[in-house]
């Protein structure tokens, strides 16, 4: 059964799901959702995702939304195939969930705000809020300092292996490094930089970049 992923391939949250499915060697079909046309707010789509956000998945009769819920489900369902993304014990899993939550609550919003102010608003012909951008940058520097500390003790966020915790950061990190001109935040931090180089060179991520025509 092919997993249908609803959402544009160039949006961060669908990419989180696609990266996971590629790591787990699970076949998928992308069903595009035209965000500029407002398709995600139309009644049909709201039946799939009542908050009007991407992605949503459909796997036979099974439907799910929220990218971090979707990746947890598939990482567990296909535990025995592809890359192990959940660690090898309850304690390792605890670290995976911990850093997944850090990504969701301490990292993601800051990058999202930067992307919105520096990329999305100008595209719409509007001015970004420079004070807000500066404030986000400063907060993100502090967060990345903590990541630098962590990654100086472990190769990956949750331990010695690549897991969902690292994967979850890939889409936003790519925006930070490639699209909003803040690669220095990564490159100036030795361990964060090494980590970014390693995870962004994974076969699955490179496959996704190719599929998305970057």
């Amino acid at each position: 059964m092919v997993v249908k992923v609803y959402g544009p391939i160039k949006a961060a949250c669908p990419q989180r799901v696609l990266a996971c499915l590629l790591e787990k060697e699970v076949e998928f079909q992308i069903v595009d959702v035209d965000l500029e046309a407002g398709d995600h707010k139309k009644p049909d789509f709201l039946l799939r995702q009542p908050f009007g956000q991407v992605p949503a998945i459909e796997d036979g009769d099974f439907k799910l939304f929220e990218s971090r819920a979707i990746i947890r489900y598939y990482a567990a369902k296909y535990e025995k195939q592809g890359t192990n993304l959940l660690g090898n014990s309850l304690e390792e899993r605890a670290m995976v969930d911990q850093w997944l939550e850090v990504e969701a609550h301490n990292f993601n919003d800051l990058v999202y705000t930067l992307v919105f102010q520096l990329l999305v608003l100008p595209r719409m012909g509007k001015q970004g809020d420079t004070a807000l951008v500066l404030s986000c940058q400063q907060k993100l520097e502090k967060v990345l300092d903590i990541y630098e500390q962590r990654l100086s003790t472990t190769a990956y966020l949750a331990g010695d292996s690549f897991t969902l915790a690292d994967l979850s950061h890939l889409p936003a990190l790519r925006y930070l490094v490639d699209d909003v001109g803040m690669w220095h935040m990564v490159s100036q931090r030795k361990h964060v930089n090494a980590w970014w180089e390693t995870i962004s060179n994974r076969v699955a991520w490179k496959k996704l970049m190719k599929l998305a025509n970057y």
Partner: protein, 233 residues
């Protein structure tokens, strides 16, 4: 998987050492973990962190929570932070204790719970946290309120609760027929909004959300947490 089962049968014969929760019970994130531990019937020891004295930013505390936030959690095999991660771990580790279905008893149930736990974290928590801080905490801390921020987030939360109203008309609890971690995760912020601000109406004026709130907030576990909050300094 074999080693986990062997570990579980060993645990039945061990004396339980209380797990440690660092942080004030008045903190929404701390109370999320307390509610989960009580639901799971896990003995806990609350370790105070005096935030008004900046203890959460002390070098010692930063060792167990490098972002300087509460709670931090420790048991005999792990040290962990992020309340929703702690809750998931507690449910897996103590699977056979207390409310066994709290994090689902099969993968599909768990997926639905994770979906609504994420919805809580991504859509419900941001606007409700702002309102809790602005309306319940800022006055107590003698801080100036930001009316425009309050209005923006009130509107955001109202829209989110419209989605909940529809969902809770189709399902008794958010993830399905049983109370789960997904519902539990909403208790801390909603409790303040309903009991310590004038925005309780956002919940109580809606038929399904109102019914759901009355049901989840009357659980023994939550009543115990509220009690802990009342008795903390």
């Amino acid at each position: 998987m074999e080693s986990v089962n062997a570990g579980q049968s060993r645990r039945h014969f061990q004396m339980a050492t209380p797990v440690k929760v660092h942080g004030p019970p008045l903190s929404t994130a701390v109370s999320r973990v307390l509610a989960c531990l009580i639901e799971k019937d896990v003995q806990l020891q609350l370790i105070p962190v005096n935030m008004s004295k900046g203890e959460h930013k002390s070098p010692d505390f930063l060792k167990i929570q490098p972002f300087g936030q509460v709670p931090a959690f420790q048991d005999e095999s792990t040290s962990q932070f992020e309340s929703r991660a702690i809750c998931r771990y507690v449910c897996e580790k103590y699977a056979e204790k207390g409310n066994k279905g709290l994090y689902g008893s099969n993968p599909l149930a768990k997926a639905s719970i994770d979906q609504w736990l994420e919805a809580e974290g991504q859509s419900f928590n941001p606007p409700s946290s702002v309102l809790v801080f602005q309306l319940a905490f800022a006055p107590r801390m003698k801080m100036k309120q930001d009316q425009s921020l309050i209005n923006q987030n009130h509107d955001k939360l109202a829209k989110v609760l419209e989605v909940y109203e529809k969902r809770l008309g189709e399902s008794r609890f958010l993830a399905g027929d049983e109370f789960s971690l997904a519902d539990l995760s909403h208790l801390p912020n909603t409790h303040y909004l309903v009991n310590a601000t004038d925005r309780g109406e956002l919940f109580t004026s809606k038929k399904n959300v109102g019914r759901w709130w009355a049901e989840i907030s009357s659980r023994d576990s939550w009543k115990k947490v509220v009690d802990m909050q009342k008795h903390s300094s």
